[in-house]
Symmetry: C2
Subunit: 517 residues, 2 copies
């Protein structure tokens, strides 16, 4: 569910790549050995022993990730949930967490873990142990084998379900804790870590984990909640999203049985003349939800709590536009026109600011080859609604139901299958400041974006009662989340882009930066 914008190449990223083209392809094991030139205490001082530990532990770090990928936990299929939860616990304990326990919910269990390093500062963290469904036959390399292959232009990548979403970055973070320990260092911060196993089904019970008294008490010690993520673009830039849209996923079912009109079952289509149709009813009901061109929500009161972009948010978008080649983005997305033929800046402002009503899928009646003259008794539509501040998931679901009921469609079943509120974090928070300083120190272009058009359950942390800054970003690169051949870069052939070892070191520096902030 935590879903993402595709990587968009930035002009700065392209320049960096051009500069790198002349460099030797013989990479040192840790291409960043020469990066942080000064042994800046803010980022951990002289990290040579940590670097050496990362290099030494590389085989076991890779093996740890491969073992994890071999055990897919999929909440939608109720697959390996208990086992996946236990593996998460084992991985955390192995990395130095003194406590790590399963947290039962009405759904799949979460995990609550603490690492007490005796440090003055405590950092909150968010992990997920579940992955998206997959169809092995669609993969070029078996999704649970986590094979490492050459993939241009990146170098060596691991192919597997969860490789980048989210086991790869999480295992890389854990490798940082292992390296610190091997280098004889304590973690510079204490860690309060909360993990869930239902992220890919929209975190329906995650609040139950976070709102447990002991978890809330532990989070009270924290100044932020951070989730590792491989958010470098292929060219090396890091985008830090200051927020994400909320989302609700909804299944609408219109049936003659519930409606009490038409035939209770599918019937010969010749009867249409005297019988009502559940499919036409669905079409007409759906049609009321959006503007004529399908691009603006038209649900009663939908914009009541929608906040417009601030000047600063617009400025961030303008900056992005200035550094982006629109034609490249369009090509990457397979797009010729933005809605209403908007210019790129207006399109990106919509992307950041506009709530959406989307039909993910729908089906009714006969869907095989050719035709079949039936009058179907049922129609199903799957929708997602992206929400922006200050909309809430609960209010959106209530407004949708009220809108349909007001128009006489009260019999259409509305099942909210998952969702959560939007999340937003202040760019002046310690999390954003510290993170930005790390990436800048590493020589990476950093771009802030006001908000992801996609969604992740950060609201559980940014909203009451936790009310902390929260974000997920990081170095390294992976893609094809939710798709076949999901990958994560293990060894990068581009000095501007982190492989797993470089990203491991960056997480070490990140912890020091948070400790110092």
């Amino acid at each position: 569910m935590r879903d993402w914008m595709l990587e968009k190449p930035t002009r700065r990223g392209l320049l960096l790549m051009a500069a790198a083209a002349g460099a030797s392809l013989a990479m040192p094991r840790l291409v960043l050995a020469a990066a942080g030139k000064s042994a800046d205490a803010k980022f951990g001082g002289d990290l040579s022993t940590v670097r050496a530990a990362i290099d030494k532990q590389r085989p076991e770090a890779i093996k740890r990730l491969q073992n994890w990928i071999a055990l897919p936990s999929i909440a939608a299929e109720n697959r390996n949930m208990k086992e996946g939860c236990q593996m998460m616990i084992d991985l955390l304990k192995d990395a130095g967490f003194q406590t790590a326990v399963a947290m039962p919910t009405d759904g799949q269990p979460g995990v609550f873990a603490t690492l007490d390093a005796g440090a003055p500062r405590t950092v909150g963290m968010y992990f997920m142990y579940d992955v998206k469904q997959f169809v092995p036959s669609e993969w070029s390399s078996p999704p649970l084998e986590a094979a490492i292959i050459d993939k241009a232009p990146f170098g060596k990548v691991m192919i597997g379900r969860g490789a980048t979403n989210q086991k790869g970055p999480e295992a890389t973070f854990l490798a940082a804790l292992h390296a610190l320990k091997a280098a004889g260092r304590k973690s510079p911060v204490n860690i309060v870590l909360i993990a869930e196993g239902e992220e890919e089904i929209a975190s329906p019970h995650f609040r139950q984990v976070v709102h447990k008294p002991e978890v809330l008490a532990a989070l009270k010690q924290c100044h932020e909640v951070y989730m590792p993520f491989a958010s470098q673009s292929p060219q090396g830039g890091v985008e830090i999203a200051l927020g994400a849209k909320g989302v609700i996923e909804v299944e609408l079912v219109c049936s003659t049985k519930k409606w009490g009109r038409g035939s209770a079952d599918d019937i010969h289509s010749s009867y249409k003349a005297e019988l009502d149709s559940a499919v036409w009813r669905m079409v007409k009901a759906l049609s009321t939800l959006v503007s004529e061109d399908g691009n603006d929500p038209a649900i009663d009161g939908w914009f009541e709590h929608v906040k417009p972009l601030t000047d600063r948010q617009k400025a961030l978008i303008a900056e992005r536009v200035a550094h982006t080649n629109e034609a490249d983005v369009k090509k990457l997305l397979g797009v010729q026109h933005w809605v209403r033929d908007l210019g790129y800046r207006d399109a990106l402002e919509r992307l950041a600011s506009q709530p959406t009503v989307n039909i993910e899928g729908m089906y009714a009646g006969y869907t095989g080859p050719g035709g079949k003259t039936i009058l179907p008794s049922k129609a199903t539509a799957k929708l997602d609604f992206r929400l922006v501040p200050d909309q809430t998931a609960d209010d959106a679901a209530a407004k949708l139901k009220a809108h349909l009921a007001k128009r006489g469609y009260g019999d259409i079943e509305v099942s909210v299958t998952g969702g959560y509120d939007p999340t937003q974090t202040d760019e002046n928070s310690s999390l954003i400041k510290a993170s930005t300083s790390v990436y800048t120190h590493l020589g990476m272009p950093v771009s802030l974006s006001p908000r992801l058009a996609g969604s992740w359950p950060g609201y559980v942390f940014t909203g009451a009662p936790v009310s902390l800054p929260a974000g997920h970003f990081g170095t390294g690169h992976g893609s094809r989340a939710h798709a076949p051949d999901e990958y994560y870069v293990i060894e990068s052939s581009n000095p501007a882009l982190h492989g797993m070892a470089e990203a491991t070191l960056s997480y070490v520096m990140h912890l020091y930066a948070l400790a110092a902030s």
Copy 2:
């Protein structure tokens, strides 16, 4: 495609059944031995030798039907078409047709056959040799085994694909020709028979067969075109439909590729804010095709050629209403309300007179369990449009396309996958008069209906240049056409309802009645 109203019990039928309840269950082999009391020359005179032949040939008549069912010809799957055409030819020759040849078309071949009995009168006939698709796992008895089982309240029925639609009634008619021959009689009429193998895909090439010069020349000798059919209700009444609606089946495809907007492929749903949706476009386009309640066509000019019911047609419907228990019909159909809460008479008038726009099925995007946050690049809808006189299939398709184009939906692909014009036959034609006289002579309640709400390609005969009365009806009973466990009554336990042998005799009488008209 030739599709039917479900049997609706008539009051007369129910009375007959009640009367029969006291009768002995020990049926003579031919329950009609005592029926046509007078040896009326009009119906073949003394038919005792023919009756004896039917009884004697019963095992081979059943076996012939079973062999035919064992070879399913399915045009939609291009399955056994050549073999099915050849079997049709063999069956006709075996029954006494002197000529029977395949008639190639741009699709599957038809058959043209003639039986010259040296009779003064020639009768046109229409057969089909194809059947509807089937899924064996859905059947309680294998659909190609044509097993004969006990089925209350009918007696012994044959279960198989094509059992009633249309191999059963056709094989029964052929059994009549075999019986005449065995009884030493010539057929009382010459027969010109045209068969097709694409009836179940809406007869896309049937005109090519009928309009061949030699076929048109042969049909010029005929006064009518008749298709055998088991059209007795379970209670024994025969309904003669004087016409049938036309139909076009259409597949609409809205794709971002063709449209040139949105993403060329499915993309993450977060992009909806800046990208157009093919599914919303389909919903909005479909919505323009019907009234707000989905019950009246709203396509530009759709009613231009629609003729209202005549007073006589309304009177026939009123008569039907007077003899029908509306509650029984509603129960049979699983219906609580007719559209707009109409009374039964108004509902039946709509059924006979109203053109319809029906969504048979539609699909787009993700249709599996749960949700998947994608913005689909394509939506498909399958529609059927029932047509009434004087609409035509070609004009309807043109109007649909013009309607969509006028509203800017010209990129939505409109594939007409099949269809044909409405058909209507005069109740004073020799076909209807002769047929009615047979059923009345057999003591069956006959009800005329102005028009089937379903469709069959009778227009090829009733329209120019052939311009003959055409109809399909007959004695016997079967049901579940197009559905699993399709059946045809072989031995009836109800004296009011014909089994295969009684129906065979009725076809003999039918030929004599046509010869005499």
